[in-house]
Structure formats: structure tokens, C-alpha cells
């Protein structure tokens, strides 16, 4: 992973000092609420329902075991003993005291972490596929490009006061969208043409109030011009994005209003000026960045499906089941990626306690070259596990409660913190997730159902990605009561696709029965081997609508 150089450390230390002084001036009354607001937001600090919420940046989801231990220590010393993996691969603390935040940032800086630009109307954390660098399907490792973008975006002086937040994701897998680039403000697809790396650049995707999939703006941007092209798009957005209405301020509204062609023309005009200028990337710098993401010391003598693995698979049914859901193929023979689903029933999806951070750190040290990854599905990945070590790892995970074999199954839900924590929420999400988990507690049945993405957001802002769930659940408020609107057919897998609304919203206690009816219809109608989403796409929404609102079921 990216290893800090002295200037990176210096920058973080200066940031901590700056924020310490800003916090002091705010507490002294020298900075008004309105003036402090964007400053604290650009340091990831929200004032939430009960306490501030601090969002720590995890660039493209990579964490070292040292960082994991620090995250655990912060949860222990400054929070209530737990933290939360967000849908943008970041870590959130729900209970820090404002006065403590400068000290927390200083602690994070010790392990090369920060909260820079994790909120506010600026360029946010860059995200990618959680299997970046190990996914056999990717055409190259996207992380060096993510880091190049991260550094360009960090404290970029021109783009700190954009009309609205701005999210960039990078994908290196052809014919699939594991990084959800289709629903980002800018999506960067790495492509190879005539042996050279370039980028197809999308703009104007996003979830939230007006969900849409981005348009291709740059069809092939050669690699040296990546930053110049991004800067051109940002400059167009900064100048012309709507600043009067926050609900119309995202770049997607601008791209839609101008049309892709006009937006492209404006971008190209800015780009023409920047192209071949000092922002042009050099092969030397790209090599330096690639060097930060070099392979760990894999044992080249290992092969796939070693005897130890085969024996364990044959003799242990629970391990076998977990292997088939939670273990992902690796491009290096003899290795595999393991996903720890953070979806224990009765616990908010994505939550980890301080002790669990330590435990995951120990496992990363022992089994995965001291690294782990956070995922946008709010899970944790150990990316480089020897296949002959999968069984001993599973035994430890099982003891810790992290071996639930439900990755991508119905109970591996994405859920935002919702009305229990978030002051923006219209409704609670966590109790809905829990009710679904309690109802669908039969692991045989879940495995029979196969992959179904259920995504839950407590409000229109869509932190729980409800639009791209095969089944999406959105909390809405009607005259002070919480209702839930259901969408079907969204996708965040092979493609990014916005789901369709089923119809009028449901009472909280109706959500589980409705989902059970939708799932029943799928089971009745599916062809052999057909997934829920495929059956839905074959049948269309009508039969699902009919079943969901039927009263005789």
C-alpha cells in the first residue's frame, strides 16, 4: 500500500495543527457556526443527532494492521468502543467529543491516516474495487491511479468550495462495475488501447434525490492526461454547477441540464488548455506510484486447491459452505481473498468493536501480509490468504463470529446508520435490517435463494445505496411516521443501474412480509440457476408489484 514519504507526514501534521487552531477559535467564539461548518466538514466532522460523527478516510479501502489497531484504540479511548464501516469504505465514529477531535486526528496521523475531505463540498475519498490488485479479471491495478487522484484532490485549492460534494471512483475490471463508477460524480474506467493505458471518463452519475447513471464524457483519455482531464471537468462544474438549490447542485444535474454533448464541449475547451502542461503525468511518477502497490512476497511454489484445502472442504460442511460464499478467487495461484461479513444479527451492519479491530489486525498479520480492506458493502476483506491456511483462518473467524457464510446473500445488507444516529434521516434503517436478518435466519434457505442485494437508506441521500440494490428500501417520513418505499431491479454488480419503485410505501412492520412475498414469487418463477435479479429482469416489475400488494398472501 501507499507508504508515506516525509512530505506526506509533514502535510498531515500541519493539517492537525490547523484544525486544532480552528477548533480552539470555534470554542472561543472567534469562528461562527456557519464559518466553522465547512472547515469541520472538510475534516469529516458532522454534528449528528446525539454527538459529533467523525468520518476517517480509508483511501480506496486499504488498511494496514497498524492502522486497524489504531482505529480500535480510538474507538476505545475516545468513543464508545466501536466504529462503523461506511458505504464509501471509510470508518465512522459516532460518539467523539468535539474537543477531542484534534487529538484523534493527531493519533491518526501517527499511522498515516486522516479525515481530510471525507465530507463537505469538495472532492471526497477516491474508491475502487475491494479486490483491486488481486482480482484476476482486472486489466491492471487501479490503486496507483487512485493514489495519484487522491494527491491531486487533497487540499486542491481551486475545488474546496464546490457547489456540492464530489465523489470519484476508479474501475479496472472490464464488463463489470465493482467500484460502482456508473453512479459516481466521476467514474474512471481503466482501458487498454493498442497496449497503452487510458481512461474512459464518465461524469454525472449519482444516487441521492435524483439517481442517474453517468454519461461518457471522455472516451479515451491517454494516461498522461488523467489529471488534466479531471481538472477540466472539475473546473466546468465549479463554474457552472447550481449553487442556489442544494438538491440541484450535484454535477449530475449540470450534465443533465446541459446535455452530455455540451458538457463535453466545455470540458474539452478547458482540457485543451491544460493538456501537455505541468499537470501531465510522467512515466517516472506513475512507476513510483505503482511501486507502492507492488505484490507482497507471494510464495510462487503454491498452487490452487492444495490438499489441505481439499481435505477440509470434504470433511467440514460449515467450512465448505463458507468457502463457497465468502472466499473469492485470487489472481495469484495458491491464494484467495476472504471476506468477513460484518452483518451479525442484532448489530448495525458494518460495525466493529475495538477488540474486533485488534482481532482483525492480528489475523491480517498472521494470514494476509498485514493488510486488510474495507468494502462498500460494509465488510472487511483479507486479500492475500494462502489457500492451505483457509481452514485455520476460518476456525478463528468462526470463533470471532466473522464467518457467517452470507456474502452477497439476502442478509448481507448494506444499511446506512439511519434515524438511530443520523440527523438527516427520515427513518430508521438498522432495526429494519435486523428484522430482515431475524426473519431470514435459515442459512439453507438463504443459500438456496442465492445472491440478492438488499440495500437500505434512511433518507433520500441514499448512503445505503438503496437505488442500486436488487431490493432497495428507502425510509420516508409522512406526517411524522416512518414508512418504507421499496425499489426493485437496481444493480451494483455487473452494471450500475437504478431500481424502479414498486408503488406506495409500507409501514415498518410490513417490510419483512413484503420482502418475503417478493422472494416467494422469485422462488416460484425462477428457472434453474436463475438469480433473483435475472428473474426480475425477465418478468418485469408487474408480477412483483401484484404480489407485494396482494392481501390474500
Amino acid at each position: 500500500m501507499y507508504v508515506y514519504r516525509p512530505h506526506d507526514k509533514q502535510l498531515l501534521n500541519e493539517r492537525v495543527a490547523q484544525f486544532r487552531d480552528q477548533t480552539r477559535r470555534f470554542l472561543d467564539g472567534q469562528l461562527s457556526n456557519d464559518e466553522f461548518l465547512p472547515l469541520r466538514l472538510q475534516n469529516g466532522l458532522y454534528i449528528q443527532r446525539y454527538a459529533p460523527m467523525l468520518r476517517v478516510s480509508v483511501p480506496y479501502g486499504m488498511l494496514s494492521s497498524t492502522q486497524l489497531r489504531m482505529l480500535g484504540r480510538i474507538a476505545r479511548e475516545w468513543d464508545k468502543g466501536y466504529a462503523h464501516v461506511s458505504t464509501r469504505q471509510n470508518i465512522q465514529y459516532n460518539w467523539p467529543d468535539l474537543e477531542d477531535v484534534p487529538d484523534i486526528l493527531a493519533a491518526l496521523a501517527e499511522v498515516e491516516m486522516h479525515a481530510i475531505q471525507t465530507s463537505g463540498n469538495c472532492i471526497r475519498n477516491v474508491t475502487t474495487d475491494e479486490f483491486a490488485g488481486i482480482n484476476a479479471a482486472e486489466i491492471e491495478d487501479p490503486r496507483p491511479w487512485c493514489e495519484i487522484i487522491r494527491q491531486w484532490a487533497t487540499f486542491n485549492p481551486e475545488f474546496a468550495y464546490l457547489p456540492r460534494k464530489f465523489k470519484i471512483a476508479v474501475n479496472a475490471v472490464p464488463d463489470a462495475d465493482p467500484a460502482l463508477i456508473g453512479v459516481h460524480d466521476i467514474g474512471v474506467q481503466i482501458v487498454h488501447r493498442d497496449g497503452e493505458t487510458g481512461f474512459q471518463v464518465l461524469a454525472g452519475g449519482g444516487l441521492g434525490r435524483t439517481p442517474m447513471v453517468g454519461e461518457v464524457i471522455g472516451d479515451f483519455v491517454p494516461w498522461p492526461h488523467l489529471l488534466s482531464y479531471l481538472e477540466a471537468i472539475l473546473r466546468v462544474y465549479n463554474k457552472y454547477g447550481n449553487r442556489d438549490n442544494k438538491y440541484k447542485a450535484r454535477i449530475k444535474i449540470l450534465v443533465k441540464a446541459l446535455g452530455a454533448e455540451k458538457f463535453r464541449a466545455l470540458t474539452e475547451a478547458e482540457f485543451a488548455e491544460l493538456k501537455d502542461g505541468p499537470m501531465t503525468l510522467t512515466a517516472e511518477e506513475v512507476d513510483v506510484m505503482r511501486g507502492h502497490f507492488s505484490e507482497p512476497a507471494y510464495d510462487p511454489s503454491l498452487t490452487n486447491r492444495p490438499a489441505a484445502l481439499e481435505q477440509a472442504l470434504a470433511s467440514n460442511k460449515a467450512f465448505n459452505r463458507w468457502f463457497h460464499t465468502n472466499v473469492t478467487a485470487h489472481r495469484q495461484p495458491g491464494y484467495a481473498a476472504v471476506t468477513l461479513t460484518l452483518k451479525k444479527t442484532g448489530r448495525a451492519p458494518g460495525d466493529l468493536t475495538d477488540e474486533e479491530f485488534d482481532a482483525v489486525a492480528d489475523l491480517a498479520d498472521q494470514f494476509s501480509f498485514a493488510e486488510a480492506r474495507t468494502t462498500h458493502q460494509q465488510n472487511i476483506v483479507l486479500g492475500d490468504v494462502r489457500q492451505d491456511q483457509l481452514f485455520p483462518l476460518w476456525e478463528k473467524l468462526d470463533a470471532l463470529g466473522f464467518a457467517t457464510p452470507n456474502l452477497k446473500l439476502l442478509t448481507d445488507m448494506i444499511a446506512c446508520p439511519g434515524g438511530d444516529f443520523c440527523s438527516l434521516a427520515n427513518a430508521k434503517s438498522i432495526p429494519i435490517a435486523e428484522a430482515i436478518q431475524r426473519h431470514f435466519d435459515d442459512m439453507d434457505y438463504l443459500h438456496d435463494l442465492g445472491p440478492i442485494d438488499v440495500n437500505i437508506s434512511g433518507c433520500m441521500n441514499a448512503c445505503g445505496h438503496h437505488h442500486i440494490g436488487h431490493i432497495g428500501i428507502l425510509g420516508v417520513d409522512k406526517k411524522g411516521r416512518e414508512y418504507y418505499q421499496i425499489t426493485l431491479g437496481g444493480r451494483g454488480d455487473k452494471v450500475s443501474k437504478i431500481g424502479e419503485k414498486l408503488g406506495p410505501s409500507f409501514d415498518a412492520d410490513q417490510v419483512v412480509p413484503v420482502i418475503a412475498r417478493l422472494v416467494d414469487l422469485y422462488v416460484e418463477q425462477r428457472k434453474p440457476g436463475e438469480l433473483f435479479i435475472d428473474t426480475y429482469e425477465r418478468l418485469g416489475i408487474e408480477p412483483f408489484k401484484e404480489r407485494a400488494y396482494a392481501t390474500d398472501h
Partner: protein, 164 residues
Amino acid sequence: MPQIIKDGAIVEDRWQWLDAEALAAQQALPEGPVIVPLAYWQAHRDSLKARGDVAVCLEPGEEPVALADDLADLPMVAIHFPAFKDGRGYSYARELRTRYGFKGEIRALGDVLRDQLFYLQRVGFNAFVIRSDRDIHDALNGLKDFSVTYQGDVHDPRPIYRRH
């Protein structure tokens, strides 16, 4: 005499900024250095150019291209921030410096506060009229928040990896 921050120091300043309303209330443009709105400049361009002590203030939505042919005759372009959160002026200043090669003063007016100064100077502002209820000496510290920057800026367009 009022004080502003200019080129990294606190200095006395004689420029008078008149917005459209203030101008409408006056019979003629006052003597001495004066900053006028874009529309006024465009209506009286020739006579104002001859004076040599008239500058133009751009509001959000008024882009530098409107002054492209006038920059050689302008000692200063001011950019107004009605609210510091409106970041359009950052792109305007950058354009003035890098696209149009403007060498004169670029002055930030309006809701101009300490915690934005570091970014403002990097995109090309060299003069700051700090909001009157704030301590200008305190604000001066904002220019020195960081010693490290990743990207290039108008002072040094090279990103950090090209500076060695």
C-alpha cells in the same frame, strides 16, 4: 486609512469599492482609485481606461472572459465573495493568471476570512480585504497554514513530484 493584506503583508489601502447601488447614488465617479462593477466598466470603458486608476469587480457568474480585451489596461481585478462558500471566484482567479496571464493585482472582496486565505493565494489572489469584523493580524496567519502542497498552483505549476 483602511488596511488590507497585500503580497503577504498588512498595508494601508486607498482603493474605494463601489457596488452598483453605491454608484447609482453618485452623480459622477469619485476621485482616486476606485473599483467598479463589470456592467459599469463595460458601459464607460473608454473614459475609465484613460483614468488608469479604475479596477473592475467580478461577481459570481461574471467570468474573466468578459475582461479578456481589457486586462492590459486594468491595474487590478477584484473578485467578490458574497459568501465564502461560493467557490466560483477560485476558478476565476486561476483563469486570470493562467489563461490570460494577468500580472496585476487580484483582490478578494466580501466574505474574506482567515481560513480560506491559503487556498485563495494559491489560485492567484494577492490582495485580501478581510471582513471588517475580523482581526486582520490574525487573518494574516492563514497564509501560512501549510508548507507542503501536492498540486501545482499559479506560483509554481509543477506538482510536488516535479519540483525536485
